[in-house]
Amino acid sequence: MTASRLWVFGAGLWLAVWAAAALGAPGLAPHDPHASVGEPWSPPGPGHPLGTNDVGQDLLSELVHGARTSLLVGGAAALGATGLAVGAGLASAVWGGLWDRLLMRLVDLCLVVPALALALVVAAFVGSGVFPTVLLLAALLWARGARVIRAQALAMLQRGWVIALRAAGARSLYLIRAHLVQALWPLVAAEFVQAMAAALTLEASLSFLGLGDPTVKSWGGMLYYAQARGAVVTGAWLWWAVPPGLCVGLTVASLAMLGFALEERVHPALRAARAGPAIWPQIPADPLRIARGVLEVEALTVEYGTGPAAVRALDGVSGHVRPGELVGVVGPSGSGKSTLVTAAMGLLRSPARVLGGSVCVVGVCWGSVDAKRARQLRGRSIALLPQTALHAWDPLRPVVDQVAEAVATHQALSRREARLRAQAVLKEVGFPKSRMGAYPHALSGGERQRAWLAMALVNGPDLLLLDEPTTGLDVLGQDELVRLVRDRTRVRSRAVVVVSHDLPTVLRLADRIVVLCDGRVVEYGPPDGILRSPEHAYTRRVVGALQALRGSWAAEVVG
């Protein structure tokens, strides 16, 4: 739930109003809910804002008094359930071992028990008072919370400072008291709120089935009488059955809403913004424009966020890639390389904002095309080997299927043909034939990398973008990759851009090198030129370090 503040506020207000009503029920209710104070079956009117029931009791008074039972039973049961959950969860996490196994088995048991059916049977035999009901609901509802709290406590016990405390001889009970409870309380509160929602529903269901305490007013009990006395088949349902039902429902919903908001405090990832596409400055389509290259970047300026906190990732970057070229883009972390790659793919997402400039692929500029045309460019005109190529597979489909899918997305081929095409290109990049049907998890890092390369090349793109292609590969793997790129990509793709912080690799590959620093192009030229006379401070430092490390090696490679 996107716990927008307004909703949470509304939920809190609703609960506060009913809590107040429950506390002040004797003073607030217009009548004694047990007394017959009006004509039976009266519709809402003066004196009885919600009308009366079949024996002339005031329905509004019943509703206000009913809040007492419903909230009391729900709250007390939730308190008991949360107490059990905290105790069991912490004991499980801190002591571990046999304790943990036994408790978690018990939790599994409680989670699969059909709660309502069991509650019905137990309520029928043990009795219907408020206290037995509270005990019963607590016993039915503690399990979920115990599991959640155990998981979170375990995660906390893995943190550095807790391990350090334990190593320093801190006792388990001290750890729990001094550190865990404090860190866990938002989660505990979330569990309480959710247990209360479940308890309210169960209590209402029990009362509705006539298993509640008949001497006390409750929302579920009102619904039981509405049903039993036939309010459903007369018009009276509108004022007899609807208000208590709405009270149960809205209270449960409010509790759930608060629970979500609390959970988001514990796990901020739940709140992670969904990123829509970034807006590009509109460029009027110019039919007479002649593309100078497969990729043209013109004075591109991109910022993340707005206002004083905005970070400028790219600041007026220009450059182009001609057909047949292999261009290297190097720069330190934070120089804007990833932003440049994302912009080149036309996949910038908010909070990124394009302040100015343009990026055009084979003469088509992002921002001047609709979503459909943009998709036709991606994977066909411009293909990407992402930085995370090792992990960027759908884990549920064989690799060859995913390559074939790339074919089928862009070419009108039958399934079989697409698959054959995929297999052919996979073979070309040296993907072992015996692994063709394998799922991503069963492949080595090098194999996954090769397969991604095949997927990028399979549609014969005009431009292949390699984003940090050597990340996660050992020296041999890097070497193989460099050879693959040199030998294979030139056949399958018209131009290549290698973006990397790994200068030696780029030096071995590129015809031209662009050095990016702090979002600006600080240097460009052929590799040997940059190696011999680096101009920018960053380039000088890297080249200097390279030469110091390798002696004359770099000169040999270039020479």
Binding site: W7, V112, V113, P114, A241, G245, L347, Q376, P395
Partner: protein, 316 residues
């Protein structure tokens, strides 16, 4: 082998609870077994009845006899219906399934589609709107939804019969379907929220994963990304939870069947409760619990079909 241990443990707990309930509950077990008649027995008849039911023997012998009886199909006689418990169950169970299975399939389908979309869409406002509405629906008690549907569509509009109590007697299949529409609709509305919330949450975490972004770089349309790749991945964590909810739902049908007077298992459970028909109650509780255990076993056994990482085969 070890995977079956939790299920066996659960089955054992259910059986034991069933055995223990009438013995720890206030009153004498004979009252539950014989109903009203128990009060009219002379002391001698009482002793005979005790012997007949084996209640005069030590507790552990009673326990063994109970378990053996359960395993060999001797589930006792229903006091309320005057027939063997198994017979009553055999009559009621198919009716509940006829209602519960289609309703559940529809609810899971709708919940999945809506939840997947809400978790995936970049339009945060739409998501907030749909999610709030479903959350509200999920919070409404099932029996209340039943009452409102009954009042509006059966009483006020007259589109459907008011009560399903004549369900069994109704001759035409079409009429039977018509009687099942409102109860089924209630079950759908009352249970689709669970699936929705679970799938939506799973979808939100799948959306953080890198492969989704990579799919866009391949040029896949959002439709294909959502239904072909994101949803199957979101279903994995949701699957087991949904099955768990289904198990709980089997008991939840009690209130819905009660409102509509639909003569299924839930209604039988309620009638057995009111009549203190202990043998029937034990029987139904056992069936519901075993069904839940079975559902969990099926979920665990089928889970690897959806996740290649859990299947045997070549591993790196």
């Amino acid at each position: 082998m070890a995977r079956w241990v939790p299920y066996c443990a659960l089955a054992w707990v259910v059986v034991t609870v069933n055995f223990a309930l009438p013995r720890v509950a206030p009153g004498h077990p004979l009252d539950y077994l014989l109903g009203e008649e128990a009060a009219r027995l002379s002391p001698r008849q009482r002793a005979e009845a005790l012997r007949a039911f084996g209640l005069d023997r030590p507790l552990h012998e009673q326990y063994i006899a109970y378990v053996v009886g359960l395993a060999t199909g001797r589930w006792g006689r229903s006091v309320r219906f005057g027939r063997p418990v198994l017979e009553v169950i055999a009559e009621r169970l198919p009716r509940t399934l006829a209602l519960f299975v289609p309703a559940t399939l529809i609810a899971v389908f709708l919940g999945t589609v809506l939840g997947a979309w809400a978790g995936y869409t970049t339009r945060a406002r739409w998501d907030a709107g749909v999610s709030s509405a479903v959350l509200l629906l999920d919070a409404m008690p099932g029996f209340w939804i039943a009452m409102v549907l009954l009042s509006v569509f059966a009483v006020e509009l007259g589109w459907f019969p008011v009560s399903g109590s004549s369900f069994a007697a109704s001759p035409q299949p079409w009429e039977q379907v018509r009687r099942a529409v409102l109860p089924a609709a209630t079950l759908v509305l009352a249970t689709l929220g669970r699936t929705f919330l679970v799938v939506r949450g799973a979808m939100r975490s799948v959306c953080q994963e890198e492969f989704l972004w990579a799919l866009e770089a391949k040029g896949l349309p959002p439709r294909a990304v959502l239904w072909r790749h994101a949803l199957p991945n979101a279903w994995l964590p949701a699957y087991t939870q949904i099955v768990l909810h289904l198990g709980a739902g089997a008991g939840g049908a009690v209130v819905v069947e009660t409102v509509f007077g639909y003569p299924g298992m839930g209604r039988a459970l309620y009638e057995a409760l009111l009549a203190r028909d202990y043998p029937l109650l034990q029987g139904i509780l056992s069936v519901v619990a075993f069904a839940t255990i079975l559902a969990n076993a099926v979920a665990d056994a089928t889970y690897p079909r959806f996740d290649p990482r859990l299947r045997g085969g070549p591993a790196a």
